[in-house]
């Protein structure tokens, strides 16, 4: 490992948040290209599956994290609960904010069809979403945080799959329509 790679490793070890290539370059007083090279070297060292620590690209930067191989032991040592899993309501609110940000709570409720206060409050408390100004009608707007990207292992929001991927296929949609209509006809004949 050359000196720059060593410096970059140390910076990632120290920093409590993912560090961008630009920040690494500025701190090390080298060009971004050199940092990218040093990161590639580090990545070889930290190839997943060989070490207890892995190099990850999350939330617009790079970070070191433990390999899941150590999760059970880590839980015993740290006696700290992991982020609790999301309830269905929380997951839906988070998905809506992630894709439609900035978005207000009334809009979230409109899409979900139910009031979503408690789920939104929990997401705020856990800092996966945060306020982002107000709409022109005065409603608080929400967006996701860098912590969200880190917890979900996203290098950036553009890594979220296209929302259309989750739509029912045209066949399924047509199916749904037809199923409803058929039921209607059966009823009309009865």
């Amino acid at each position: 490992m050359n000196e720059l790679a060593r410096v970059v490793e140390a910076l990632l070890f120290l920093s409590p948040e993912p560090v961008s290539v630009a920040d690494l370059a500025e701190a090390s007083e080298v060009g971004e290209g050199e940092v990218v090279e040093a990161l590639a070297r580090l990545r070889e060292h930290y190839a997943e599956g060989f070490r207890g620590v892995v190099l990850r690209e999350v939330a617009g930067g790079f970070a070191l994290a433990t390999d899941p191989v150590a999760e059970t032991a880590a839980r015993r040592l740290m006696a700290r609960p992991r982020t609790p899993p999301l309830t269905q309501a929380q997951a839906e609110c988070l998905a809506i904010v992630a894709y439609l940000q900035p978005i207000s709570r009334p809009e979230i409720a409109r899409i979900r069809g139910v009031a979503s206060e408690s789920a939104v409050a929990t997401l705020l408390e856990r800092a996966t979403i945060e306020e982002s100004g107000r709409s022109r009608f005065g409603a608080v707007l929400y967006r996701t945080t860098p912590l969200f990207e880190r917890l979900f292992g996203l290098s950036g929001l553009d890594e979220l799959p296209e929302p259309a991927r989750f739509d029912p296929s045209p066949e399924d949609e047509a199916d749904l329509r037809e199923r409803l209509l058929r039921a209607g006809e059966a009823r009309a004949e009865a």
Binding site: R56, A98, G113, F152, G153, P163, F166, P168
Partner: protein, 246 residues
């Protein structure tokens, strides 16, 4: 319980719920004629009979019924000549209902994707050790004013607010409880005899107003109170009946 299994026996319709939806979509049943409260009650009865709560289908039901309610309320609104936004024809309403079902389906699936991602990430832990003391001091010289002090004052204001409070299981967590609004109205009626609805909701937000209206209906149903509204949009006068508990 799959939703289609819900059998309805309503004034204008008899049959399974998905058929009702189909008929509304095809405009064979007039949404204006349909008593949605009856649908809700039938659903609650059904839940009680089956004795178990399937969150998935309950959510689906809530989404559908909320959509129907909103569409119906828009159909019922008096049409203003110059306000085209309010004019929603039945086919438009039907299209919107279907579009809304599809939109919700999209984010429900996206939610599943996110949960999977979080699960897959659960083995990775990041270091959160504090910096060594000699590195901890951010340099004052490099600091510029980037935050608005008003953000703090606003947060303080939020903290001073006492919540209207209460907890209900899972999904809908109304911020206002029917019980409390009932107690509030009973206290007013016991104290003053006649009250106006406006008195009951002085300075209240819309949610509280809505729940208070439910509370009024409850009191009426229980025979505890009666009311009068001599003219449309005029004040609503509420008075206790003989059966009001002391």
């Amino acid at each position: 319980m799959p939703l289609p299994a819900l059998e309805l026996d309503l004034e204008v319709f008899q049959g399974p719920f998905d058929l009702l939806l189909a008929l509304v979509l095809r405009e064979e049943v007039d949404l204006l004629e349909l008593d949605l409260a009856e649908v809700v009650i039938a659903y609650l009865d059904h839940l009680e009979q089956t004795g178990r709560l399937d969150l998935e289908s309950t959510t689906e039901f809530l989404v559908l019924i909320a959509a129907l309610l909103e569409l119906k309320s828009r159909l019922m609104l008096p049409r203003e000549e110059d306000d085209e936004a309010l004019e929603l024809t039945a086919p438009e309403a039907a299209d919107e209902l279907l579009a809304r079902m599809l939109e919700y389906a999209r984010y429900r699936a996206a939610a599943g994707h996110l949960r999977g991602r979080l699960e897959a990430e659960s083995g990775f832990r990041y270091r959160s050790a504090p910096l060594p003391a000699h590195l901890r001091r951010a340099s004052l010289a490099e600091a510029r004013a980037v935050y608005d002090p008003e953000r703090l004052t606003r947060a303080l204001g939020d903290l001073l607010r006492t919540p209207p409070a209460l907890e209900t299981p899972h999904m809908a967590r109304p911020a206002v409880s029917l019980e409390r609004r009932l107690a509030h109205m009973r206290a007013l009626l016991a104290g003053r005899g006649r009250v106006s609805f406006d008195d009951c909701v002085a300075d209240a937000d819309r949610m509280t107003e809505a729940v208070t209206l439910f509370a009024l209906l409850e009191l009426y149903k229980a025979g505890e109170a009666a009311w009068e509204q001599p003219e449309a949009f005029g004040p609503i006068e509420i008075r206790p009946t003989e059966r009001t508990p002391a």
